[in-house]
Amino acid sequence: MKPPLGRTLLRLFTVQGSWNYERMQGVGVGVAEEPLLRDLAVSRSAAAYRAAVARAAHFFNAHPYLCGMAVGAAARAEHDGTPPDQVERLRTALCGPLGSLGDRLVWAGWLPLNSGLALVGVSLGLGWWTVVGFLALYNAGHVALRWWALRAGWARGMRVAEALRQPVLQRAAAVVGPGMALAMGAALPLAAGYLGGPFPGWARALVAGVAGVGLVLLRLPRLGVTGLRFGLGVVAMALVVGWAWR
C-alpha cells in the first residue's frame, strides 16, 4: 500500500467527524483526500495543490464507507489534469449512487444481517462470544468495502462509474437482502423468547399485548409514532400502573 493511500484510508475512518448542515461530509472528505493531493505541490504548483484541496472540501454527502471511491477518483482526476469543473461534476455525480448503494448494501443489508445473527446467537445462549463474532464479521466486510472503494476510485479516476457496475456489487446486494430478511425473521421470535422467558404468564401476556399494539401503531406512518416515542409513552404509563399496583 502506498503511504498516502494508507493515510487517506485511515482518515476515511473519521470522514463524518465534522459532519455539518452546510458541507455535510465535505470537510471530512477534504481531510481524507489531502494526502493524495500533496504531490501536486511538487509536480505542478502550490497554487494547484491549494485549489485541489479547496475543491476536495466542498459539499459532499454519500455513504461513509463508500466515500473513498469519490476521494480516490477526484484525487486521480486532479493528478491527471482534469479541468476543475469536471472534477466538481464528478463529485456531485457520485453523491447519489454512492449514497443509495451504501444504504442498500450496508445500512439495509449487511448491518441488520449481522445484527440479526448476533441476536440469534445471544438468544440461543452463546453469550458475549456472539458480540465478538458480530464485531469481527461486520468489520471484515466494513474495512474491505472501504479499502475496495478507495482503490477503485484511485485506479479509475474519471472512469470510476465502471467500478459501480461491477457484477460483484450487484451479487452482494442480491445476497445480503434475503440474508438480512432470513436472519431478522429468525431473530425476532428468538429474542422475544429470550427476553420474555423469565417473566410469569401475566407479564408475558403484557409483553405480547404491548408488542402487538406497538407494531400496529409503528406500521401506520401517518401517526408519526417512532420506536422511541412509543417506548417512552409505554414506559411512562407502566410506571404509573406499577406505582399504583402494590
Binding site: 425476532l188 429474542a191 423469565p198 412509543f230 406499577g242 406505582w243
Partner: protein, 225 residues
C-alpha cells in the same frame, strides 16, 4: 458501584458515542456491544446482554439514511445497564429502559446541536477553506471530533446521573409486581420496534418469503428451547 467503575462507564460511553457517526463506525455503538462491555465493567455481563438485546431491537426502528435525525442508543445502553444492574434479573430491564430511553432522546438532540455548532465553525472558516488552507481544514476536522467526544461524554454523564437518581428513587420503591409491569412494557415496546423496523426493510415479495422462513425457523427454535 465504585468510582472507578463509573469512570470506566463514562469513558466507554464516550467511545461508543464517538463511534456512532464520527470515528471509526465499527459498530461498537450498537447497543448489544455497548451493553455487553458495560455489563463486563460492572461484573454483570448477563444484564448487559439482556438490556443490549432490548435496545438493539429498538435500534432496528432507525435507518441512518442521509441527514436524518435519530435517537442515540449506544451511551443510552451504557447508562441503562448501570441501573439495570442494581435490580434483580429481568426486573432491572424496566429501570434500564427508563434511563436508556431518556438518554437516547438526549443523545439525538445533542447530535443535532453538535451539527449546528459544526456548521457555524465551517461558516467561520469558509474563507480559509476556499483558499485551500490544509492546516485550517485539518484543525476544523480535529476540533469537530473533539467536540463530538465532549458531547458523547456529556450524554453519558447525564445518563449515569439519571441512573443514580433512578437507583436511589425508583429501585426499592416499586413493588416486584410494579417493576415487572415496567420491564414487560419496555420489552414489548422493543419487540414492536424491532419487528416494525425489519418489516420496513423487507420490501419485495421475494425478500418477504425469506423473512417468513426465518420467522418460522426462529419460532420453532424458541419453542424447542
Amino acid at each position: 458501584m465504585s468510582l472507578e467503575q463509573q469512570g470506566l462507564l463514562l469513558v466507554w460511553g464516550m467511545l461508543v458515542g464517538l463511534d456512532l457517526a464520527s470515528v471509526p463506525q465499527a459498530m461498537i455503538a450498537r447497543p448489544l456491544v455497548a451493553g455487553v462491555v458495560a455489563g463486563a465493567i460492572l461484573g454483570d455481563v448477563g444484564t448487559g446482554l439482556r438490556l443490549g438485546v432490548v435496545f438493539e431491537l429498538l435500534q432496528h426502528d432507525i435507518l441512518h439514511l442521509g441527514a436524518v435525525r435519530y435517537p442515540e442508543y449506544g451511551p443510552a445502553t451504557v447508562a441503562g445497564v448501570s441501573v439495570a444492574h442494581a435490580a434483580t434479573g429481568a426486573l432491572g430491564i424496566g429501570f434500564g429502559a427508563v434511563v436508556g430511553l431518556f438518554t437516547g432522546l438526549l443523545g439525538g438532540v445533542s447530535l443535532h446541536a453538535l451539527r449546528r455548532l459544526n456548521t457555524r465553525a465551517v461558516q467561520r472558516a469558509s474563507d480559509a477553506l476556499e483558499a485551500g488552507d490544509a492546516a485550517t481544514l485539518v484543525r476544523l476536522h480535529v476540533t469537530s471530533l473533539a467536540r463530538d467526544a465532549a458531547r458523547a461524554a456529556f450524554v453519558t454523564a447525564v445518563g449515569l446521573l439519571l441512573a443514580a437518581g433512578v437507583r436511589g428513587f425508583l429501585v426499592g420503591t416499586l413493588s416486584v409486581r410494579g417493576a415487572m409491569v415496567v420491564a414487560a412494557a419496555a420489552t414489548g415496546a422493543a419487540i414492536a420496534a424491532g419487528a416494525a423496523g425489519t418489516l420496513r426493510l423487507v420490501g419485495g415479495r421475494a425478500t418477504l418469503g425469506w423473512f417468513a422462513a426465518g420467522l418460522l425457523g426462529g419460532a420453532a427454535g424458541a419453542w424447542l428451547k
